[in-house]
Each structure stands twice: as structure tokens, then as C-alpha cells.
């Protein structure tokens, strides 16, 4: 049960980081934190129910997260090259 509370706290920290920080890399770290809090919850449920499904799901999430990091960092780097900034508020080209 404590694991779940920890997972919720980590998720909240991650979400708040994503929503409040302007720096893209920090926001990115928030996303990672949210993903890993989910992993923690999945593994916890796996242990509680005595099934492996949750652990398998956690591995999936890791794989997806790894891919996401690659793509996300690449985008951030290319944005930085083009605009000399890593602020997520500056590039608002899609503003309606």
C-alpha cells in the first residue's frame, strides 16, 4: 500500500514538473518521472495479485519510454539548433 502512495506522489511531482517548468529538458524529466511512477504502481499490483502481467506491462512501458526519450531528445536538440532555446513556451508556431 505504501508503494502505491509513493507512486502517486512521484506521479504528482512529475505532472507538476511537466506543467510548471519552461525548460524542455526538465519537462521531459517530469514525463519520465510519471512513467516510472506508473511502472512502480504496475509492479506493486503485480505483487499484490501474484500475477506477472503487471511486470510485463512495466517492461513494455520501459521500452516505449526508451524510444520516447530518443525521439524527444532529438526534437529538443533540433529545436535548440534552430531557435537557440529549450523553452517550451517560445516555439508557438501552431498558435491558432
Amino acid at each position: 500500500m505504501h508503494y502505491l502512495v509513493l507512486s502517486s506522489i512521484l506521479f504528482t511531482i512529475g505532472a507538476v514538473t511537466v506543467l510548471t517548468r519552461r525548460n524542455a529538458i526538465l519537462a521531459f524529466m517530469g514525463v519520465e518521472l510519471m512513467l516510472n511512477s506508473c511502472n512502480l504502481a504496475l509492479v506493486t499490483f503485480s505483487r499484490v495479485h501474484g500475477q506477472l502481467t503487471g511486470q510485463v506491462m512495466a517492461f513494455y512501458v520501459m521500452v516505449v519510454a526508451a524510444a520516447e526519450v530518443v525521439v524527444g531528445l532529438a526534437i529538443i536538440v533540433s529545436i535548440y539548433r534552430a531557435r537557440r532555446t529549450v523553452s517550451v513556451d517560445e516555439p508557438s508556431l501552431l498558435k491558432g
Binding site: V18, L19, A27, D89, K95, G96
Partner: protein
Amino acid sequence: MIEYSWLAIAVPLASSGLLLLLGRRSNAWGHLLATVASAASFVVGLLVLLEVMGRPVAERVIDVPLYDWLPAGDLSVEAGLRIDPLSLTFVMLITFVGTLIHVYSIGYMAHDRARRRFFAYLNLFVAAMLVLVMADSYALLFVGWEGVGLASYLLIGFWNFHTPNAVAAKKAFVMNRVGDMGLIVAMGLLFATFGSVSFADVDAGVAALSTVNSPMLIATGLMLLLGACGKSAQVPLQAWLGDAMAGPTPVSALIHAATMVTAGVYLIVRSASIFDAAPTAQLVVVVIGAVTLLFGAGVACAKDDIKKSLAGSTMSQIGYMVLAAGLGPIGYAFAIFHLVTHGFFKAGLFLGAGSVMHGMGDDVDMRRYGALRKFMVVTWLTFGAGWLAIMGVPPFAGFYSKDKIIEAAFVGSGWQPWVLGTVTLVGAGITAFYMSRMFFMTFTGKARWVDNADLLGPDDRRPVRHPHESPAVMTIPMIVLAIGAVTLGFLLSLGDGIVGWLEPVTGHVDHEAHPPVLPVPVIMGVSLALVAVGILLAWRQYGRNPVPITPPTGSVLTRAARQDFYGDAVNEAVFQRPGQDLSRTLVYADTAVVDGAIRGAAEGTVGLGQALRKLQNGMVRSYGLMILGGFVLIAVVLHFVRM
């Protein structure tokens, strides 16, 4: 030769196409080619006629299938030709008179730069008219029907650089469309009832019906009559014929006197089986004929324009034919008989009028003619022959054909023979009056023009004219037609005559068994007496007394007749104005309702988009907040729904 009768249509059609496609390159010889094509058509027709005449009477109705035309589901229409005495009579009339008028036009249109185009249209007309009369189904007949309508439109508006002519052409075309609608509806009814629109199937289908006067047959008959009214300028679709005189005079002679305008009579006679089985429709036909007969005669009496007066006369004479066709089997042959003789003498009269106009600087006002006899002897003589023929003076052609119609009108029981007979007799009297008026105003009396401007006094309204006889290329057709006007009635009455010749189509009628309500000599005597009275009245007013060059005000009736009895005003008040109002209302409704709905939808979409674009602020973090908010919302909703 019968199986090659399609050549009669193909030759003028090919010539017309050639002249239109080659354009100016054929200017030099175009008129000759067109005339030869028309003559070739006549030769083909003549050969077919001789072959049919060689056959026994029972085998004189021949269907010549050509090809599968419209194989569409249940409706399979074959294009084929119906060769029988009726169609051959028309073929002879169209090609013979048509060829003469081609010849005449060579002279009449000699100075027109677009003469080749004129001849191309004339050929097109001949081809279309032949399709109309030789078709073996209503569908193919309709093709010819529209074809002659097109040719008529093109030729009325031939001098379309002059706006009234273009307007007249459009008027004729639009009024003809009203009649065409009737023909289309009639075809639809026939297909719905009999599953076919060929003459043979329809005749067989009507014969198999046990009921007489069924609503379907009456409706079909009335719709066919509407078509006939449009094409033949019968009341209530008569108003276009007078304006159609805007076309060159040979056109008026060929299309608007001899052939096309009689297509309505042809349609009624061709649909004899339908009308015979629907006496109510027949009664309407008779009434329309009688009304038009008097209407046209009234108009002809009042017009000072020689061509418009002749147009009124044409209307009136076709009224005679329609009346005869409405009398049923007893009248069909007489209607066609009068149609043929009328084709000759009326074409002759029109060509005469054209010749007069040719010599008088294209003036059509008879009040500025007078004393032309000495200057145009041939025109005077040929016009005189036509004049005597149309009045029905024995032994001229009109006497044989018109008196037969008058006698047939007197056959029957009850009120009908008396009313119809009286109308035809009165019509004969009025015919004599207006034709004599035209003749006297044009050829006799004192000249109401001068040939030297020095002779004009002050306030003299007489025009300066140099009348002269037309060239031989114009007078020869007039002479031939005049010979027809003199002899044709007698020739076609020899032996069985045209009535016997048409029997395979119109059926055999024993005229002895249907005596008129008055003895024939009495009818003939009264008719001739009325004609004499008509001539005398006209002589008193226009021959003996001088004709004022400005038209007197005249009585109410005269003024009404000068205005075509307000036919145009009626059309304008009853159809045009309400039609305009209706279309204006529709335009308003279209703008307000239909366009409004569409514009509203567009504006709504734009407005929604404007509102929604505010959400797209480009701030990644606000998108993240929205996603989170949405997720929480869904979670909360799911939570409560589960509970």
C-alpha cells in the same frame, strides 16, 4: 424503291450539313446544290409514289424498318419509315412546293450575303419535315417535329441583326415548346397504356380497347391537340404566326403557309384511331378549328401588312382543316385535300406577295401599293389565280376542297352541323372579303406611290417606288404554283381522286350514307353567294373608293383585329406577368431560404472555428494541462458511473 425512301430525307440533310460545314467556300454554288438536293428528294418521292400506286389498295401501307433506335428496357423504339398514301401525299407536297420555293429563293435572296446559309436552313427544313411525315412512330415524328421547329426558328430570325426579327423567332420557338410539351405528354400516356409509341402498335392497341371515350384516350387526344395547336398556330397558341412573317418571304411561303404549319393537321389525321375512340377530344378539335377559322379571318381583314394578312388567312384556312379533321373519318380526307390545295395556292400567294415586295423596295404596307397590275403582269395573274382559288370560286382548286369541308361540316345531328356549317359558310364569306381587299388594294385602284420625288406635294405621305416585274427565276415558280391553284382541285377529284387514294389510311366512308342536313346544291349556292357578297363589299370599299394612305381609326372590332384580338396582351397578362411574378418570388425564396440556410451554415462553421482557435494558443504546457484535466474528468466520471 420503297426500301430506299430514306434517301429522300438523307439527300437534303447531307446537302444542308455540307453547306453549313463548308461555309463561305460553298457560297458560289451552295444555292444550286440545295435546289438540286430538294429536287432529288422530289424524284425519290415520285419513284416511291409510282411504286406504291402500282400496288393493290390493300398493300399500300408499308413500314420500312431502318434500325434499332432506342432499345431501353421496356421501351424499345425502332426508327422506321411509314410509307402510305398519307405520308406520300405530304412528301409530294413538301418536295414539290419546296423545290419551287428553292428556285424562287435563288432570285429573291440574290442580293443577300448569307444566301448559302439560307439554303442550308431550307434543306434542313425539308429533311426535318420529311422525317416528320415519314416517321412510323410518334418518337421519330417528334424528331422531325423539333427539327422543323428549329428550322423555323433559324429562318424566322434569319435577319437577326434586326432585333424584332430575333424576338419573333424566339416567340415562335417558345410558343411551339408549349405545344411540344403536349406531344411529349401524349407520348408518355401512349407508352404507359400500350407500351409502345409506334403508329402500328397504337392503332392495334386502341382497336383492342373495349371502352370508347376512356379518360386516357381523351387526355391523349387533348395533349396531341395541344401539340397540333402549337405547330399549326391554332387558338390559343396562335400568336406566333403573325410575328413569324419577319422571316424572308420564301420562308413564309414554305414553312408558315404550305407545309410546317399544317403538321398539326397531319398529326390529328395520323392519330385518327385515338380521336375516333375519343369523341370528346374530337369535339374539342372541332371547336378549336371553328374558333380559329373565324379568328384568323378577322385578323386577316384588318391587317395592312400584306404578309400578316396572309398569315391570318393561313390560320383561318388551317382552322378549316382542323375542323374537318375533328369531324372524324368523314372529314380526314377532305382535311388533307384542302391542305394540299391550300399548300399550292397559299404558297403562290406568298410568293406573289414576295414578288410585290421585291418590286416595291421591301415595303409590306398595302396602303402604299395600288395599281400594280400594269407593272407586274405575271405577279398580278398568278396572285389572281391564288385569289380565286382560296375564295373557292369554281373551277379553281379551293372550290373543290373547301366546299367538301363545308358539306362535311353540315353532316351530323343535333346542334353541331348547324353551328359548324354556319361557321364554315361565314368563314368562306370573310375569306372572300379579305382576299379581295388584299387583291384590290395591291393591284387595282390608283397608285398610292409615285415614281418621281418631284411629283410629291407638301405633306404628301406617298413613298417613291419603282415597281418592276421580278426575274424569271422568281416568276416561273409562281406560274407553276398558279397552275396548281387552277387545276389541282379538279385533278385530285378525278375518279376516286385523293379521297379514294387516302382510303387505306383514313378508312372508307360512304358519303352517300351521311347526307348533310341541307341539300348539297343549297350549301354550294349559299357558299357562292356569300363569296360574291364578300367580293362586292371589298370592291365597294377598296376597289371603287380610294384607299386612304393612313389607316382610318376604324371600329372597335377593326382595332381589336389589328392587335390580333389582343392575343399578345392576353398571353402577357395570363402567362408572362404571373410567370415573371412567380419567378421573382422564387428568386426571393431562393435568396432568403435556400441561400440563407447555406450561408448560415457557413457562417456558423466560421464562428465555431473562430471560437475554437482561441484554444490553440501554441503553449505546450497548456495543452498538457488540458490533457491532464481531461483525464481527471474522465476518471471522475467513470468513478461516479461505476457507483
